[in-house]
Symmetry: C2
DNA sequence: ACCCTTTATGCTCAACCCTAGTATAAGTGA
DNA sequence: TCACTTATACTAGGGTTGAGCATAAAGGGT
C-alpha cells in the first residue's frame, strides 16, 4: 500500500481491479507476483517492482502482514506479503490507477470534524442487530465487550489505532461487502480481495507509530510549515489537534528546526518554514509527534 | 519463537540444530515446513504444529516478520514466516529441546544490573575498529551516527526496544558468528541460520508493546504478586524499575485487582495476590505496564 | 491611512503525572 | 526479643499537558 498525504487528505494509490470473483470494478492495491530472478530480499524486489510499474521511488517502506492464500499445487502454498510505503503524491501515468482518499474506505475512522455520524447512524445499530441475533449468549457477551472496547461504547474511549480491530469486527458481523454483505455507503467503499484489510492494518500501524517515530516527515517536502506538519499528523491520526500545543510539542521536542525562510501563501501572517531535525533521533528515545487529546 | 519468563529469567524454547552449513550444535528455534493439507490460516497451522511437536498450547501469538529465503525451483520462492508466542514455562519432553535464557544470546541487552560491561569492553571497541576501517568517509560518518543512536553513545540515550537495530549493526560490522565472525562470548551465543535475528525482532516488538498492551499477563499465572509482575516486566524490558512507582502505576492504572489472597513465601511481609483486570481494556486507551526511568 | 479578517506565534495557569525518596507494616529466623 | 526481609503507604518537587488568552503580521476593502 502506497500512501501520500496531500492538503490534509491521506490518499492511497489504487489500480483498477480485474474481476476477482466477488465483484467487478473494486479498487485494488498495486500488487504482483514475485519474480524469483530479481533481487535477494523481498523489500528490494518490491522497490524495483514499484519503480517499474509506477515510476515512484519509495522512501520509507515497512513490512505489514503475511497472508496465507491457501494451496497452490503439490505441497505448495500461495503466500501474500504486504507492505506499506510512504511517498509524496505524484501523478501516475498508468491507466486505471489513481489516488483515493483512505477515509472513503473507512468513513468511521475520520474524527477530524468530530465523531462521524455513520457510527451512531449505521454501524452501531447494525452491530447491535448482529449481537442480538447471536444464539450463544456467552459468545454474545464477549462480542458485545469487543464492540464496546473497539468502538468506544459504554464509557470506553475511542482509540484511533484500533483500525484493524474495528474492521475485523465489522467483517465478522457480516457488514462488509467483501464478505458478501450488501453494499452501503456507511460501511465504506469496498476493495478487491482482502485489500481493505491490508489498508486497515497499515493505518493501525501508522497511527501507533506516529507517536514514537518521526514517520510523518516521510510524507512532507523537505521544507514545510508547522501547519502542514500538523495537517499530515491529523490526517493520519484521524483527529484534530490543539494548534498551539502541537506547535509546542514539536518545537520543544526538537523535531524540527527553522530554516529562516517563510511561506507567504498562508492567507494570514506568513509562516516559518521548518525542516526535520534528523539529530533528534539520537537525542530522544521515542521521537514522535505528540497526539494530545483531540479538539473538535 | 516461544517465550516464557520464569523467576525473572526470560527463556526461549530451543531445539538442537542439525548441521546448517555454518556450524554444528547451535541452538535453533522450533520451526517446520507448512503442510498445505492443514488449516486455513497460517496462525492455526502454527498452533497445531506446535501442539503436535511440544504439547504446548499457545496463548498469545503474534506474527513477526517474513523472510525471503530465495529461489525454490521453477518460478517459486521459499518464504519463512516467523511468529512470537508467549507461554508459561513447562517441561518439554522432546530430546534436544530446552529453555534457554534470552540474554545468553544478547548479553548487551540486559541492563537490570546496570550497564553491561561487554558494551564498553568489547562491543564499542569492536564497532569503532570497524568504523575506522571504512574507506568511504561519508558512509563512515553515517554509520558512526547509527552506532551513537542505537548504542546510546555521545549523549544519546539507550533505548531498550532497539534490539533489532543493534543486532543488525553488529551483524553488518561483521562481529556476529552467524555472519562468519569468530565466536566470542561478548557477542552472545550464536543460533542456527537467521534465528537470532528472529529473536531480536521479537524482543524489539515485545519491549515496545509492553508499554501499551497488557502482554505481560500472558506470561504469568492467573494469580501473582506485584513483585512477580514487576520481575516479568523487568525481564522483558531488560531494566530495573522503581518498586513503589511500578506498584502505583499498575494499581492506579487499573491493570490488576486484588484477590484478597496472600502469598506467604516472600521472605518478608506476605504479598497480596492480584489478578489481571480484563476490564481495563475497555477503560483505558493503551493499558500497558509503565516503564518509567530505570533504576540501578 | 485605517479597519477587518485571517493565520501564525507567544505565553500562562492549573491539573495532572512521574521521580525519588522517606516511612511504616508484617512476616521470618536467630 | 532483635535483626532482617519484603510489602505497602505516602509525599514533596519537578516536569508535562490541556485549554485558553493575547499578540504579531500578512491581505483586502474602504
Amino acid at each position: 500500500m502506497i500512501l501520500a498525504v496531500t492538503e490534509g487528505t491521506p490518499r492511497i494509490l489504487t489500480i483498477a481491479s480485474p474481476a476477482d470473483g466477488t465483484a467487478y470494478g473494486h479498487n485494488a492495491l498495486p500488487w504482483g507476483p514475485l519474480d524469483p530472478r530479481t533481487d535477494r530480499t523481498l523489500e528490494r524486489t518490491l522497490r524495483s517492482w514499484v519503480a517499474r510499474q509506477s515510476r515512484l521511488a519509495l522512501g520509507y517502506v515497512e513490512q505489514l502482514y503475511t497472508f496465507d492464500e491457501g494451496r497452490a499445487g503439490e505441497g505448495l502454498r500461495r503466500i501474500t506479503v504486504t507492505y506499506l510505503a510512504l511517498v509524496q503524491e505524484q501523478a501516475i501515468p498508468q491507466a486505471g490507477a489513481g489516488w483515493r482518499d483512505v477515509y472513503a474506505f473507512f468513513p468511521w475512522e475520520d474524527w477530524r470534524d468530530g465523531r462521524p455520524g455513520v457510527i451512531d447512524d449505521a454501524l452501531l445499530p447494525a452491530l447491535n442487530t448482529w449481537l442480538a441475533r447471536l444464539s450463544d449468549l456467552q459468545q454474545a457477551e464477549q462480542e458485545r465487550e469487543r464492540v464496546d472496547i473497539h468502538f468506544g461504547v459504554n464509557g470506553a474511549p475511542w482509540v484511533p489505532e484500533r483500525v484493524l480491530e474495528r474492521y475485523e469486527l465489522l467483517y465478522q458481523a457480516g457488514l462488509i461487502p467483501e464478505a458478501g454483505a450488501e453494499r452501503q455507503p456507511a460501511f465504506g467503499r469496498p476493495m478487491a480481495l482482502n485489500h481493505r484489510r491490508v489498508v486497515a492494518t497499515a493505518l493501525s500501524r501508522l497511527r501507533g507509530k506516529i507517536k514514537y517515530r518521526p514517520v510523518v516527515f516521510e510524507l512532507l517536502p523537505p521544507r514545510f510549515t508547522l501547519w502542514q506538519l500538523q495537517q499530515v499528523a491529523e490526517a493520519l491520526a484521524g483527529m484534530s489537534l490543539h494548534k498551539q500545543n502541537f506547535r509546542r510539542l514539536v518545537e520543544q521536542g526538537g523535531l524540527v528546526a527553522s530554516t529562516g525562510e517563510f511561506a507567504y501563501d498562508t492567507g494570514g501572517r506568513p509562516a516559518q518554514l521548518f525542516r526535520f531535525r534528523r539529530r533528534v533521533l539520537r537525542e530522544r528515545p521515542a521521537p514522535g509527534v505528540g497526539l494530545p487529546g483531540g479538539v473538535s
